[in-house]
């Protein structure tokens, strides 16, 4: 198996789906000759031509609006929004139409489109290039919000997202793009959307994370094991919405303790929903208050301070210790 970066793995998913299905169309800003500013669409224009890899004018609302029309016609558009910080221009197209056209037309017009966008901090980027605002989409009924955590699941989930009959917002942690390589099989793999996975088994505490926060969370689990013999179970959500909480509840019923990690701002963030689900499903099994290790309710600072903003391995470790010290 080839060891690929997440960028290469996503490129593989796009290439193979485009080869398999001529209804798959890539569109966005600089996705053609430039191959995307992160090179996720690299070389696709040479393989499939400008009729399937469409460099658009610079207008996010029309990119998504156009994709909605294409999807309603029966195509499977995959649009790239260059940075998720610019996706607010297309907010109403997702909220008002992509998420509703199936509903409004009573099933006549499904919208099988994917919106890909890099999200998150940690790459020393400019303002507007580091946000983690996935709850905007997760809060919208009718959308699915998928956030992979590494090359192999990114490839498998992107294939599933392209084949999904409903609109999928696919957030790619830009800190993950070239951070590490994983063995990714050439044969097409899929992963079910809407199903979290156990990334590391354990029995003492449940750590819940997704996207770019899975790596520091796994590192924290490893440190706790090595240093203190604490066996932390790590759950990788993979899909933020619709959130299937069954695995989370089952794990916390087993461990009695939980820490939720995300880089999005804390208030009304994904952690709030996850904690509520755990209260509904595992309250009587809890040994300690659930901890949240998250970003703060502030604009992501310019990059000199972003490391202080982001949840770090020591912050996660200390939060786990606090839950273990209780009861």
């Amino acid at each position: 198996m080839n060891k690929l970066t997440m960028v290469q793995a996503l490129n593989l998913a796009l290439r193979q789906e485009m080869e398999a299905d001529d209804s798959v169309i890539v569109l966005g800003e600089d996705v053609g000759m430039d191959g995307g500013v992160f090179r996720v669409t690299d070389d696709l224009i040479h393989r499939f031509g400008a009729s399937r890899v469409v460099d658009t004018p610079l207008a996010e609302s029309a990119i998504v609006g156009m994709a909605i029309g294409m999807a309603a016609y029966g195509l499977r558009p995959v649009c790239e929004i260059q940075f998720s910080g610019f996706a607010y221009h297309n907010f109403h197209q997702l909220e008002n139409h992509a998420a509703r056209l199936r509903w409004r037309s009573r099933g006549r017009y499904p919208v099988p489109m994917v919106l890909r966008a890099p999200y998150g901090a940690g790459v020393r980027a400019l303002e507007h290039h580091s946000e983690s605002r996935e709850v905007y989409w997760a809060h919208t009924p009718g959308l699915k919000t998928v956030i992979p955590s590494g090359p192999r699941n990114a490839r498998a989930l992107l294939v599933s997202a392209i084949r999904d009959p409903d609109p999928v917002v696919f957030y790619e942690g830009k800190a993950l793009y070239r951070a590490f390589r994983e063995a990714v099989p050439e044969a097409v793999e899929t992963l079910p959307i809407g199903q979290p996975q156990i990334a590391r088994e354990g029995s003492d505490v449940t750590l819940i994370a997704y996207g770019a926060m899975v790596r520091p969370t796994l590192a924290a689990a490893e440190a706790l094991d090595v240093q203190e013999g604490v066996k932390a179970e790590v759950i990788d959500l993979l899909t933020l919405s619709p959130l299937d909480d069954r695995l989370l509840v089952e794990s916390v019923r087993k461990t009695g303790r939980a820490v939720v990690v995300h880089e999005a701002p804390q208030s009304f963030g994904p952690g709030a929903e996850i904690v509520a689900r755990l209260m509904e499903g595992a309250f009587f099994y809890l040994e300690a208050p659930i901890e949240r290790v998250t970003g703060f309710d502030i604009v992501v600072p310019l990059f000199s301070r972003e490391k202080s903003y982001l949840p770090s391995v020591p912050r996660i470790v200390r939060a786990v210790r606090r839950t273990l010290d209780q009861g």
């Binding site: 029309a62 008002n96 056209l101 509903w103 009573r106 619709p242 909480d245």
Partner: protein
């Protein structure tokens, strides 16, 4: 030459074929067969009478808020008559006349306006989008449909409707720009009815015409008398032919007037005078077309009377049918349908909770 003229003077034409008295300009008269002319007339009358009936139903509390179309029959029907059933219609929320022409059931419209999702049900073969309420947001969808049609090497075209207010929105600009850059087969039909709720056209734009906006995007733009169905048809037919043959998009500004309120929740007396409305009522597109058809010898008093009573019957039957159908609707659990292709576990759980709660409500009512 420091100030060289690089864009020659732009000229925008305004097309009218029937004058205010219904007299036709023979040189411009489009070649429409008698059957189609009479069908157009029939749908103009149907749209007008149905609009009146809907206002009455709303006033009686039998339907909810809805946006009337009176005065815009020609601007809608003239345009939509130029496309084929296999072409695409992307309406805004004020295109009842166009939707009726395309085959949307009157009962369906009544049901939708009575707050039931079932009114949105459309046949699988439908090429019409459902109504879109956020202003201008539907315009980019037309570009995507047209792009897809061309990608599939189909000769289908897409006709998208929107109002004068929509031309102030970013989505209008973005969609016009995309359509021109990609040269896709879209016909942009602007219903310039002079008012966006209380805001007159002069507060939407400083342009002398809306049609001239097309020039900046690099596509043909034309203004037509939107109360002259022959002019609207002629302009649409030309735009459709151009789009179908690969000539790209066209923008058509139909100058018309919103004779009634924005929606039944609006009171236009707050912002415009009755005199201004009366002046436009005198330009009624229906009377103008009727005069033309009489002069042509294809319509007379007896035919009009017959048609009127036929349409009254059709509307009454539709209202009766819709009200009967609505009695079988209203299962609250329907609200969970069509959110996703397959219902996710969380939603199944929430649906079960509501089912239990409603059952508990029912038991409490019984108890009382």
């Amino acid at each position: 030459m420091p100030h060289e003229k690089i864009v020659p003077d732009v000229s925008i034409t305004s097309l009218a074929i029937l004058d205010a008295e219904g007299k036709v300009d023979k040189d411009l008269e489009p070649d429409i067969d008698i059957q189609t002319l009479l069908k157009l007339y029939r749908f103009m009358v149907l749209a007008r009478r149905f609009d009146e009936r809907l206002v009455a139903l709303q006033r009686q509390g039998r339907i909810g808020t809805f946006p009337p179309i009176t005065g815009q029959e020609a601007a809608q029907l003239g345009a939509v008559a130029a496309i084929r059933p296999t072409d695409w219609l992307v309406p805004s929320f004020r295109e009842t006349a166009a939707e009726l022409w395309r085959g949307r059931g009157l009962d369906n419209i009544i049901i939708a306006n009575n707050g039931l999702n079932e009114g949105g049900i459309m046949p699988d073969h439908s090429r019409d989008f459902p109504v879109s309420i956020p202003v201008a947001s539907q315009i980019p969808h037309a570009v995507g449909l047209a792009w897809a049609a061309r990608y599939r090497q189909s000769d289908e075209v897409v006709m998208v409707f929107f109002g004068d207010g929509a031309t102030s929105e970013g989505d209008f600009h973005e969609a016009m720009n995309f359509a021109a850059v990609f040269q896709v087969p879209v016909i942009f039909v602007c219903q310039n009815n002079q008012w966006a709720i209380s805001i007159p056209l002069s507060r939407q734009t400083r342009s002398e015409t809306l049609a001239q906006k097309a020039v900046a995007y690099g596509m043909p733009g034309i203004q037509v008398d939107g109360n002259d169905i022959l002019a609207v048809y002629a302009a649409a037919e030309e735009a459709v032919a151009r789009a179908r043959s690969g000539g790209g998009p066209t923008f058509i500004e139909c100058v018309t007037y919103r004779v009634l309120m924005h929606t039944t929740a609006d009171d236009p007396k707050r912002y415009r005078s009755d005199e201004a409305v009366d002046a436009w009522r005198r330009k009624d597109p229906l009377i103008r077309f009727e005069t033309y058809l009489r002069a042509k010898g294809v319509l007379d008093e007896a035919k009009i009377a017959g048609l009127q009573s036929e349409i009254e019957g059709e509307i009454k039957a539709a209202v009766d049918h819709a009200e009967a159908r609505m009695k079988t609707m209203g299962d609250p659990m329907e609200m969970f349908d069509h959110q996703y292709a397959a219902m996710p576990p969380t939603l199944r759980r929430q649906k079960a909770i509501l089912e239990r709660e409603l059952a508990a409500d029912g038991r409490e009512v019984e108890h009382e």
